[in-house]
Symmetry: C3
Subunit: 214 residues, 3 copies
């Protein structure tokens, strides 16, 4: 069961692995930022957890359903492992930046597709599901940045939420064309990962909005 | 239907126009602040949206009902138009400051009355409805400021939430006196707008709370 | 009735007094920080209220139940009294620091046990109840710090959430041993208070997580 969603996606045990990878990568990103701010162990754990489960929690609150993480302690455990990992491999972690970037992109893709499908299962219109999918993917990072009193990164940098949006549009086209659900999931998720990778590789970002002349 | 509330207010098509005006003005205020911080287009859109729908969303979550914006895409569309507007009229927007101020006051008044009445429709006591009304009016601006890592403006400046409170008290008196609902709505909303305008015109604010001597 | 929880705890009128003390101390801590930032009266009241009811509100939203403060205006009243208190006794308040520290510890202990038991009453597993208990105790302070655009204190300082965790573990052991509920509540709450007092008295904190070498 992925993030509480029951469907064809969850019949593949492969998805469980991806979910661990995504949760782990999201938690790591929170814990590393907390370390920069000299948080204590508890603070680092909380920021890691917020990053990993924040998006899905806001989605579930808006959908008026039980937050997904209450049904399995795996997210707590996974965040604990991430904390241990950052402590033990502190000196080597910077060399793994590319690995974590890929993990993060995979997590982003999975979380988005899961959020989208969970919302569709509540008979919401597609545009609501797309918002929920994007939110599931990015809101954890926003909460992470707010909890360390910084301006959320995704509001100023790179293609991130836009990659999720591209994935949602891809999913919509697949749905309309009647493509098999699993294929559609894989296609949309892949598009998110590829968009992320290419945009970072080639330094492509959204245009900034210009301030008024003062 | 205004913000999901069904009642005499919503029978006047006039209210739809006011709701567009309010949503537009709130979104503009978020987008302009995002522009100052050099957010990208996505970030500016999100901050605009948070400002416009944040208060009503928190209210609906606390009332355990479906967030109002899920039932109509107009809020997304209106925020998109506001974003386009800020981009296209960037050079002239500062001259419209007074117009936006009036729009914002109208939006504040409408959101407060709508939040109040929606909560009363849930059979909550009046003091809960007043809190919800004020929250519907001001919480979007608080979320806006938190999302750009600034101290919320309304905690330090001017009569803002207090204007909403005055409107709620006026509504209560009207309710007790058995005044017609539509008249009561108009009276309370007008009081909020007038209070806002006068307080800004004459530079009246709440007293600050003094820090302790250190 | 404490924070909406019905149980043996609430049969002791003593608990009502403790709840007032806890709410008062939490509100005071928010209002004092707001005063430092030169908030106006409204802003100070809101920050005080957020500190006092924020944790329980997030818990109730996640549990999909009506926020506890909607059923009694006592929390609004108590925060109002706290605001008056800070204004009137501004010059003497710093001398009461130790008193407020003790009140705060008592509030923390009560809120944690109440949050824990309320969640158990929803048939959640114990680990979920422990998270909710800790959240009830500490999330108000996190919201307080976010609303004044500062990094949450509890992420960097002292034993605070860890004291709540110790109390939850104590409660779990008592539950397993079949200890009388009231005794278990008192034991767990006392452990939280004692842990807080000792950790501050002896300057004990959690280890910080080390940043990566850059």
């Amino acid at each position: 069961m992925i993030l509480g969603f029951v469907g064809s996606f969850s019949d593949i045990p492969f998805v469980d692995i991806i979910e661990w990878i995504g949760t782990f990568a999201f938690a790591i990103s929170g814990i590393r930022l907390a370390a920069k701010k000299e948080f204590d162990l508890f603070g680092a754990y909380v920021v890691g957890l917020l990053t990993a489960i924040g998006g899905g929690t806001i989605r579930d609150v808006l959908l008026q359903t039980t937050p997904f993480w209450m049904s399995s302690s795996r997210y707590m455990v996974c965040t604990g492992i991430a904390l241990l990992f950052v402590i033990v491999f502190r000196k080597y972690i910077v060399r793994l930046n590319i690995t974590f970037f890929i993990f993060d992109a995979i997590g982003l893709a999975l979380f988005t597709v899961v959020g989208l499908e969970k919302t569709l299962a509540f008979h919401s219109p597609f545009w609501v599901a797309a918002i929920m999918g994007i939110m599931t993917g990015v809101a954890g990072g926003v909460l992470r940045d707010i909890s360390i009193a910084e301006i959320p990164l995704i509001f100023r940098n790179e293609i991130y939420a836009s990659a999720c949006l591209a994935g949602c549009l891809c999913y919509y086209v697949g749905l309309r064309l009647g493509i098999d659900q699993t294929v559609n999931q894989l296609l949309s998720a892949s598009l998110i990962v590829i968009t992320r990778v290419l945009s970072v590789r080639f330094g492509i970002g959204l245009p900034k909005i210009k301030p008024e002349d003062s």
